[in-house]
């Protein structure tokens, strides 16, 4: 990974209004959603008090919010990742990176780390909302940390897909469309199978929710980590190979 490229990408992300506007809009929507679920939970509290092993605030407030974060990431990661390579190509700055000596892998990894960094900030800020409830109630911290890890891996996988799409497309908008389509396919891949009651097929394994849900329930399993790592590795290798091919084919 080239640190200079990662730092520069990070700086450029925050030098543009798009990232700030997106961060503000997403956090505002999530905050509104959080307050609604919290209000719902407070309304249910008298009924929950009488139930044995009733779901707590982590189940009824934090979990829906974290699922909403995952849904939002499906859409905003392609929007922020679309310019990673396609934007460099359009503005004529790609030769600067290609002649920097960083190599294709260094360029791609630098971009990936910066993009992931942005989404880690977003996820941390979103998670701070349910975490703030710790002042007045008991939270399942183990589950929240597992969710944090799951969402970071999820965002990293989506970032890698967005960068790969950006490497393969001349125009940033098309890259965003391609990444969004890939995200939605991976998200909905096993919807039909689940509807038919199939839950342990290959198609279930290939779908994103199959591997995100366990984290949200506090289960950190190596199979899920490997799944996200595979997506990240395949997407980044494809992106680096595309940059190499650009040298060969022009």
């Amino acid at each position: 990974m080239n640190r200079a490229i990662a730092r520069n990408e990070w700086r450029r992300l925050f030098a543009q209004p798009l990232a700030w506007a997106m961060l503000a809009a997403v956090l505002a929507v999530l905050a509104y959603f959080f307050l609604l679920t919290l209000q719902g939970f407070l309304g249910l509290m008298p009924k929950l008090a009488g139930m044995p092993s009733a779901p707590g605030v982590t189940d009824l407030v934090a979990l829906p919010l974290l699922r909403a974060v995952a849904s939002v990431l499906l859409i905003i990661v392609p929007l922020l990742g679309m310019r990673a390579i396609a934007g460099e190509r359009a503005s004529g700055t790609l030769p600067l990176l290609q002649t920097s000596g960083a190599g294709s892998a260094g360029i791609i990894l630098g971009k990936f780390v910066a993009l992931c960094g942005f989404f880690i900030v977003l996820i941390a800020l979103a998670l701070a909302m349910p975490a703030s409830l710790a002042i007045g109630t008991h939270l399942d911290w183990g589950r929240l940390f597992a969710s944090l890890l799951g969402l970071i891996l999820f965002a990293a996988a989506l970032s890698a897909i967005a960068i790969a799409a950006s490497a393969y497309c001349r125009q940033a908008v098309i890259a965003a469309g391609l990444a969004l389509a890939l995200n939605l396919v991976l998200w909905m891949l096993d919807a039909g199978a689940r509807y038919e009651g199939v839950s342990s097929n290959f198609i279930n394994y290939a779908a994103l929710p199959t591997h995100l849900e366990p984290f949200l329930h506090g289960i950190v399993a190596s199979v899920d980590i490997v799944y996200f790592a595979l997506i990240i590795a395949v997407a980044l290798i494809l992106a680096a190979r595309r940059l190499d091919a650009e040298r060969e084919h022009g």
């Binding site: 640190r3 503005s91 700055t93 920097s100």
Partner: protein, 247 residues
């Protein structure tokens, strides 16, 4: 061909979109020399420079930098500075931020990077715009910033693709002066179709036409042997090739 030349192109050819753009080009260059790569639009200058810079790989032949193949070792690119036709600027960064990035990405760290930024800001006359956004620079300052990024890491070879194109006469003169200065310490390749650029900066000239190298030698030899100024000699070479191609 000089065996130990800093840069060597050995029978380099390149096709793009099914068309031969550069054909069987052989060229060598050493430090302390400014080579003017002269040719009309579409002659193959930019493609040649992109191969020299390592942005494009040749289909056949070799581009050797210090005896090593540039395409096999991308890290060698750090020893050259490249200004493409359009200066590769990040519009949303300030000039000093941008140059600091260019220094760091080429391996300079901490104080060395900041010193390098100060050095090129002074050398390229960027002091008054160093805190301005690259996107707000005039054409002349953008071009100078592009040259600054190409020399910030003190490379052995500097490759400049039409650095004075689109500039007013005063700006063009200052760019030529800068290129001439650079030529005393580095190897410089200056691609242009402006004959003034070549006569003002270059001791050596390579004329490219139709993707082929038509002449490579000292500027004085070219004008002396062919009896005339560079303009008439260049036009003679280009039109002779065109006539040959038509025949």
């Amino acid at each position: 061909m000089a065996g130990g030349a800093l840069l060597q192109l050995q029978n380099v050819s390149r096709r793009l979109g099914g068309r031969v753009i550069v054909q069987d080009m052989t060229l060598a260059l050493d430090r302390g020399c400014v080579l003017g790569l002269l040719g009309v639009n579409g002659a193959g200058k930019t493609t040649t420079l992109r191969m020299i810079a390592g942005v494009l790989a040749p289909n056949t032949g070799k581009v050797l930098f210090d005896g090593r193949e540039l395409h096999e070792e991308p890290a060698l690119s750090r020893r050259l500075g490249y200004l493409p036709e359009t200066p590769p600027l990040y519009a949303e960064l300030r000039v000093d931020e941008y140059l600091a990035f260019c220094a760091r990405v080429r391996g300079l760290r901490g104080k060395a990077a900041l010193t390098a930024v100060d050095g090129v800001v002074e050398r390229c006359g960027l002091a008054e715009v160093r805190r301005r956004l690259c996107g707000n620079l005039s054409k002349g300052f953008a071009q100078r910033t592009g040259i600054a990024q190409a020399i910030i890491h003190d490379p052995d070879l500097i490759v400049l693709d039409e650095p004075a194109s689109g500039l007013d006469p005063v700006q063009a003169v200052s760019i030529r002066k800068l290129v001439k200065e650079l030529g005393s310490e580095h190897a410089v390749i200056l691609s242009t179709h402006q004959l003034n650029d070549v006569t003002a900066c270059c001791a050596r000239v390579a004329i490219v036409h139709g993707g082929r190298l038509r002449y490579d030698g000292k500027l004085a030899d070219l004008t002396g042997a062919q009896g005339g100024d560079l303009e008439s000699v260049f036009l003679r070479i280009a039109s002779a090739d065109d006539a040959q191609a038509a025949a």
